[in-house]
């Protein structure tokens, strides 16, 4: 075929790809319901030229073994769906930009860890990229060779790979560095890759169906089934065994998750983790479809070439060429080209992000001179760092292609890359489920794993390329027999990839787990471990959950961010941030609080990666001291936010209870206040009555000096009586006040109950005898009581005095009984007076309650006497009550506890 035509078509294809990307970036052509499918198809970047061409080659040589690397993702993806989803969630929250960023962020945003992962990726993946360049170059050769046209184009033949590399380089720069925030979604890129997935599947089907129709149809099924050279295509290779299949499946799954291009499209470009639900069936379906015709094409190749030498890897391309179906060849070529370019584009973008964010920028930031330059033109610097990274990586790939890759088949190089990225599995898997997993463990695990990987997989290739002596593989490293690259520790596993995978992962795991168990984490690590493992708790409160001390104002932060993402955008982001969190927009000179700093760090992480963002912010807060205890405590606090919320709502309900109690108390106080008012009113009212008499009589006597002497004497007598009543009332009011306010001090004396009563009775006896009334005491206990004698005497005086007032004129009788009842001394005072009506017995102890309501019959007291009695008994922790006596009079019962 005309090489110029091929070049033209290739360029046309690239332009088409660019148009797809450009249009998708600028406007939304397809509705949102298609985005899960675009996402699923973009993951199809898993199928590179290695799938497109190499599967047929591997099938031709060793039968269905080629399927192993598709079984892993197909079978394990549904099983580890939650795991994958968690990675996506964490990446979204933390604005992760790459797998290196992810691991570095998990382990305290550690720079060396990020750099290590980036280096592993670059070392492991560069051969893989060069493999794609090789595929493009080979397919070019095969296609152009099929037409025996121009010998004059040899110059182009030689220069073609480098031309393709450079063109791709520019193409990738256009794609990959248009946005500075690497964590931002590249809709154009994703759409272009999804488009390429369709192109390669379509092309494979065109080529495959063509071959089936024009080659396979010429043979009968019996011929095919019985052809001895085809037998291995239909049987599983028992030699490589189940172990190999098992190993391959795990390996390919880890590759599916951790390969930089897969991480880029599957995790970082994921818009919505719900899309996984579509991808979970679309992607396996895609893998099955693209492998459907592999065996038939391999069979056709073997039959067609029938023993001739041919490169089975390119059967799909060479067969239509041999049959002079140029258009089919061209389509197949474009399919292979799309498979290769898709991989190169995404892989290079992912690697360049890591290379710049995890290696170059930390280096720049650690050199003061470079750092200053960097800060003067951040936007430009980052763009150029990215671009240089892309070119550097592509050149590295090209050089590898030129000097090493030529010697290997497509498949083996791909698997070596798989084994390299598989080393991230322990760090990531443990990292998102086990809080103890720490930085040192991750460094050691990846370090050990990749060393063994290098020793078992890379060294043999170097030996084969004569770069290292072959004695190593024959006798072991340094002549130590158990250090042979293909049978480590003397255990040879038939398949060298499985062998390498097994040993590297085993060592990786042992180092990782044991170091995690035996070493401690730094405070930064603790924080990040919390945030990763408990992502569901933190996804919404990330800004609040990370705390560090520092002294920086809002304006500083904004100008820092502005130098990365532009003035306009940083302003907008901050405004949104404050709006979203319902905060007041602070003044420029206000100190930035922790959540704003964390937010800034997060945005910055999206541009230059977590580790670099950390360095920049740290350098900004010169006096920053992260106090371990603070961080841990605050972390614990934020972890307990839910708990706290609960407690808060409990607290608030407690508060409202307290409020209720308070308002009740308030109501009670008001009632008491009202009672006090009432009391005061009653007291003044009681005072008014005698005062009225006194005033009236005084005025009358003054105004009528001529009144006769007897009248005058009568009036004066009344006045004296009223005066007595007044002073008695005043004394009682004061007494009551003293008792009620608790100011009354008890002067306790211990004396026999009998003695207490007798003393009073003796004092009353003369007046009783004078009025021909009797008073009698009966005592049936010799117990002593502890009482304030003066106060208790007042009680007895009051009650006996009252009783005496109401006694009948004849045979008046008062009986006092002292006994012991249930640890109480009980004193009953009974009389044969009128008694107290049932309904009033409870009220008699109330203030100013007067039984006969007649204030002015001259018999009545103040109405306070019994209230005072009750108060005194209360002070002695005793009880007082009134009942009906045996003579239907009143019976006062007083109980005073013993001791």
């Amino acid at each position: 075929m005309n090489i110029w035509l091929m070049l033209f078509v290739t360029l046309l294809y690239l332009v088409l790809l660019f148009v797809v990307a450009y249009v998708a970036e600028k406007k939304q052509v397809l509705s949102n319901k298609w985005s899960p499918f675009i996402y699923a198809l973009s993951i199809g970047v898993y199928c590179t030229a290695w799938t497109f061409y190499g599967s047929i080659g591997r099938a031709t040589i060793s039968g269905p073994d080629f399927l192993a690397i598709y079984v892993g993702p197909i079978l394990l993806m549904p099983l580890f769906w939650g795991f994958y989803r968690k990675i996506i969630k964490i990446s979204k929250v933390q604005k992760i930009t790459s797998i290196a960023d992810f691991i570095s962020a998990r382990y305290g945003k550690n720079i060396s860890l990020g750099a290590l992962v980036a280096i592993v990726c670059i070392v492991g993946i560069i051969p893989y990229i060069s493999l794609q360049i090789k595929a493009i170059a080979d397919s070019f050769d095969i296609l152009s060779a099929s037409s025996n046209s121009a010998s004059s184009t040899t110059a182009i033949q030689t220069w073609k790979p480098i031309i393709v590399t450079i063109v791709l380089g520019f193409f990738i720069m256009l794609f990959g560095t248009s946005k500075i925030d690497a964590s931002e979604k590249h809709r154009g890129l994703v759409s272009a890759i999804a488009f390429e997935s369709i192109v390669k599947l379509f092309a494979f089907f065109i080529g495959g169906v063509f071959i089936v129709i024009y080659v396979l149809n010429n043979y009968s099924s019996i011929e095919i089934q019985q052809n001895p050279r085809l037998q291995h295509l239909f049987t599983f290779n028992s030699e490589s065994g189940y172990l190999s299949w098992f190993g391959m499946s795990i390996l390919s799954f880890t590759a599916f998750v951790f390969l930089p291009r897969q991480f880029q499209l599957g995790v970082i470009e994921n818009k919505d983790d719900e899309h996984l639900k579509t991808a979970i069936w679309v992607f396996p379906l895609y893998l099955i479809l693209i492998n459907l015709l592999v065996i038939p094409v391999a069979v056709a190749g073997i039959l067609f070439y029938n023993g001739q030498a041919y490169n089975p890897d390119y059967t799909l391309l060479s067969l239509p060429g041999a049959l002079h179906a140029d258009s089919v060849s061209m389509i197949v070529f474009l399919g292979g080209f799309s498979a290769a370019t898709g991989m190169i584009i995404v892989e290079t973008i992912a690697l360049s992000t890591m290379f710049s964010n995890n290696i170059l920028i930390p280096i720049i930031l650690s050199v003061p001179a470079l750092k200053n330059k960097f800060f003067t033109q951040v936007l430009k610097s980052i763009k150029w760092i990215r671009r240089i990274s892309i070119l550097f990586l592509l050149m590295l790939s090209y050089l590898y292609f030129q000097y090493v890759a030529g010697k290997y088949s497509l498949v083996s190089i791909g698997l070596i890359s798989f084994a390299a990225v598989a080393q991230f599995a322990p760090s990531v898997m443990f990292g998102i489920y086990w809080k103890r997993a720490n930085k040192l463990a991750s460094l050691a695990g990846i370090g050990f794993g990749i060393s063994i990987w290098f020793f078992t997989l890379v060294m043999p290739t170097l030996i084969t390329a004569n770069l290292l002596p072959s004695s190593i593989s024959e006798f072991g490293l340094f002549g130590i027999s158990w250090l042979k690259p293909n049978s480590l520790f003397g255990i040879a596993i038939s398949d060298h990839i499985t062998h390498a995978f097994f040993w590297s992962i085993l060592m990786n795991l042992i180092a990782f787990v044991s170091i995690s168990l035996f070493t401690e984490q730094s405070s930064d690590e603790v924080t990040q471990a919390e945030l990763f493992v408990d992502i569901d708790q933190y996804s919404s409160s990330y800004e609040q959950s990370f705390i560090r001390s520092g002294n920086v104002n809002i304006a500083d932060l904004r100008s820092l961010l502005a130098s990365f993402i532009g003035e306009q955008k940083s302003k907008q982001l901050y405004r949104q941030y404050f709006l979203r969190n319902q905060l007041e927009v602070p003044n420029d000179d206000q100190k930035a609080d922790q959540s704003v700093i964390t937010y800034t760090e997060k945005i910055l992480s999206g541009v230059i990666g977590a580790a670099s963002a950390r360095i920049i912010l740290q350098s900004m807060m010169k006096d920053e001291v992260v106090r371990m205890n603070d961080v841990v405590n605050l972390l614990k606090e934020s972890q307990q936010i839910l708990q706290l919320n609960k407690e808060l709502s409990n607290k608030s309900s407690e508060l409202s209870k307290a409020y209720d109690a308070l308002s009740k108390a308030n109501t009670k106080l008001k009632q008491i206040d009202q009672l006090k008012d009432e009391f005061l009113y009653t007291v003044t009212h009681e005072l008014r009555t005698p005062l009225t008499s006194v005033r009236a009589f005084t005025e009358i006597m003054h105004d009528h000096p001529d009144m006769d002497e007897t009248k005058r004497q009568e009036f004066l007598k009344v006045m004296v009586g009223e005066m007595e009543r007044l002073s008695k009332l005043i004394t009682q009011v004061l007494d009551l006040e003293k008792l009620e306010s608790g100011k009354q001090v008890l002067h306790l004396t211990e004396l026999p109950a009998e003695q207490l009563v007798n003393k009073i009775v003796d004092a009353f006896k003369p007046s009783f005898e004078k009025d021909a009334q009797s008073i009698e005491v009966r005592v049936s206990t010799d117990k002593t009581v502890q009482v304030d004698v003066d106060l208790l005497e007042r009680v007895f005086v009051n009650i006996i005095g009252n009783a005496k007032k109401y006694l009948p004129l004849e045979n008046g009788n008062v009986l006092i009984t002292v006994s012991e009842i249930e640890k109480n001394i009980q004193i009953d005072i009974e009389d044969n007076g009128p008694g107290i009506p049932m309904e009033q017995r409870l009220n008699v102890f109330d203030k100013f309650y007067q039984i006969h309501q007649s204030k002015k019959n001259n018999v009545g007291g103040s109405g306070l006497g019994l209230s005072i009695c009750k108060k005194i008994i209360d002070l002695h922790k005793g009880q007082i009550a009134v009942e009906e006596s045996v003579w239907s009079g009143a019976k006062f019962i007083i109980q005073i506890p013993l001791n």
């Binding site: 008014r688 005033r695 009589f697 009358i700 105004d703």
Partner: protein, 123 residues
């Protein structure tokens, strides 16, 4: 004093009765005395006094009721009512006037003022 005016004193405090009766008699009034509400009602049944000096808090019938009776009754409403009470709150006073009282004096009152007021009410 051309015509002897009839004044009824109602109070359950004997000292008030004693002092006010003496005062009014000395000033030439015809004085009737009731020691409680019932006695007052009985007297009002027979005769309509020119003035009733009325206590409020009494054990049987309270002074408001008596006042209301006097003022609502065609036969007796010409009688002037002066409350003499220890109830000093505004509500009590207002209620007294609502019941139709002509005057409300809070105890302790001045006998001189009482005489003046009686004089005013009678002319």
């Amino acid at each position: 004093m051309k015509t002897t005016k009839k004044i009824l004193i109602v109070d359950d405090d004997p000292n008030i009765l004693l002092s006010v009766e003496f005062l009014l008699v000395k000033n030439g009034y015809n004085v009737l005395v009731a020691r409680n509400g019932m006695e007052a009602m009985e007297i009002i049944e027979d005769t309509v006094p020119d003035i009733v000096l009325l206590d409020i808090m009494m054990p049987d019938v309270d002074g408001y009721v008596i006042c209301e009776y006097i003022k609502k009754n065609e036969r007796t409403k010409s009688a002037k009512v002066i409350f003499l009470s220890a109830k000093s709150r505004e509500v009590d006073v207002n209620f007294g006037y609502e019941m139709g009282a002509d005057l409300y004096m809070v105890k302790p009152f001045s006998t001189r003022t009482l005489l003046e007021k009686i004089n005013v009410l009678l002319t």
